[in-house]
């Protein structure tokens, strides 16, 4: 029986774009395009199995070996720090991890900085590298309202176009790191399915080069 390569794709538009790249790389699975609620799709002939997972969970599936490879945002990789190989920057889903605050805000270094974020680890590492004492307020959504309501001084969050910030009278004060989707691989899978993984990496790399 042919060894199957398990691929975790992030649900949504990004995942669809990524699937197109895999298809072009010689790993098609036509059933994935059917309009249904199935989450797992298999093409035994090509030796590939795709599954849709929540974007923030892709890294967990890959790190724990349920998926051999997957596509995850750099924000998730920095936050969760999974023990995986990061093989390729797919140049998709580009945005920035930023520090934002109300317009007119000034950092008062005599006080502990209150930081509201979904990305506690990234915020912690960033301010630690700057030697700034902070109080992390972990939120799961609507981060932008934290400074407006006085819950925090700043927020650390993903900024794509900046429209939400603008509409809430917030400004970007610093860019921590640029974010994009990355092709990741489980370390053990790479040892035993390395040639399949490498052929995908090579093909997608050349697709990216062609697209430039």
């Amino acid at each position: 029986m042919k060894t199957m390569l398990n691929v975790a794709l992030p649900k949504g538009r990004l995942g669809e774009k990524v699937y197109a790249m895999f298809e072009k790389a010689g790993f098609p699975c036509p059933s994935i395009k059917e309009n249904n609620r199935k989450l797992i799709f298999e093409n035994e002939e090509c030796g590939v199995r795709y599954f849709w997972v929540k974007p923030s969970d892709v890294a967990i599936y890959v790190e724990r070996g349920a998926a051999d490879i997957g596509v995850a945002g750099k924000d998730i990789l920095l936050e969760y720090e999974p023990d995986i190989y990061e093989l390729l920057d797919l140049d998709l889903g580009k945005c920035r991890m930023c520090v934002a605050a109300m317009s007119g805000w000034r950092d008062d270094t005599r006080r502990t900085l209150r930081v509201a974020t979904k990305f506690s680890n990234i915020a912690q590492n960033y301010y630690c590298s700057k030697g700034r004492d902070i109080d992390i307020i972990h939120l799961n959504g609507s981060i932008e309202i934290a400074p407006i309501l006085g819950l925090s001084d700043v927020i650390v969050d993903i900024v794509e176009t900046g429209t939400t910030l603008k509409e809430n009278d917030l400004l970007v004060y610093d860019t921590i790191v640029p974010i994009s989707a990355r092709l990741i691989a489980n370390k053990a899978s790479y040892k035993f399915k390395g040639s399949e993984i490498d052929s995908i990496v090579t093909s997608i790399s050349s697709q990216l080069e062609e697209g430039k």
């Binding site: 790190e63 724990r64 070996g65 349920a66 023990d83 995986i84 190989y85 990061e86 093989l87 390729l88 920057d89 489980n186 370390k187 053990a188 899978s189 790479y190 040892k191 035993f192 390395g194």
Partner: protein, 371 residues
Amino acid sequence: MHTTVGSAERVALSLRALYNQYGYSQYKMSKFEEYDLYARNKDFLISDGVITFTDLSGKLMALKPDVTLSIVKNSKDCAGVRKLYYNENVYRVTKGAHGYREIMQVGLEAIGDVDAYTICEVLLLAAKSLRAISDAAVLDISHLGLLSELMAFIGVPDDKEAQLVKFISEKNAHEMTDLCRGCGISEENISLLRSLFAMNGAPKCVLPELKALLSGKVSDAALAQFEAVICALEGSGVEDLLRIDFSVVDDMHYYNGFVFKGFINGLPGSLLSGGQYDNLMDKMKRSDRAIGFAVYTDLLERLEQPADPYDVDTVLLYDAGCSLSDIRRQAQSLTAQGISVLVQQTRPENIRFRQLLKLSGNEVKLLENNA
């Protein structure tokens, strides 16, 4: 029902036999170390957390999160090489777990005048340890000495070394390239690093390429030692497991020289990890050198065979009026046939059995057959 010794126990037994064969003696750790030992070498430990308690004299002690530190601490500088192995439980916080776990770990250490042969022997035993567990195994070998000499040659600033090493460990060529460009490293040297990244395979294929790539950029002695040790493993019967892969890195404050990681098909992460840790010896003001590895046998439960569909072959029920010797005799006659038997008065709940027997007087009746 076939009961088998669990993978971890079976592997531990075969590894002990293997290490004994090569003259390693068992290190038994029956006392507790002071917390200070682990606090001073926090980065050497896999997990951050250490379980502490205060002993009768008021000292802060710890349940061991690691065995290597104790072996180093308790072995004294002396001539020759002390070869030890251990099979101990350690107490760690594993990633993602919200608490401590007791983990069985098997490993070995060679401490003293560690020469090229000792390194070769430890690599051989690491590969043989993997083979004892599975044929589908890989031992990735790298050399931090070569890597750090190469980083010095291409001029990686000290404050960027850790970040670069992280990218190397992730095979993250794109960010490594950005980092190097940001440090003003030439495109030629970036491509040198990228070539090193891409090298990954059996020593026979990779060594000539590696020599050509690193020649003149790292010391001849380091390159020659690396080659000599790897080549000496040719014909050892485990050479098919060996891969050279420079993405295997470890904390350079503790490790130097050879570092390696073992993988088994079917397990998501590395099962075996080890290397030369002369820098730890230096930190502990020791003049002797050291190399060792650990096998995380707790991970083997992921490799366990599919569970038996039955918990027990036979459930034997008996009446209150049955004589004790009849019950004992019936149970014994079943076990003598190699049949496992659970004896009790009432039908058990949540137990899967092949057959249900009932002993009334001295007569046995079959009540149920699920086989």
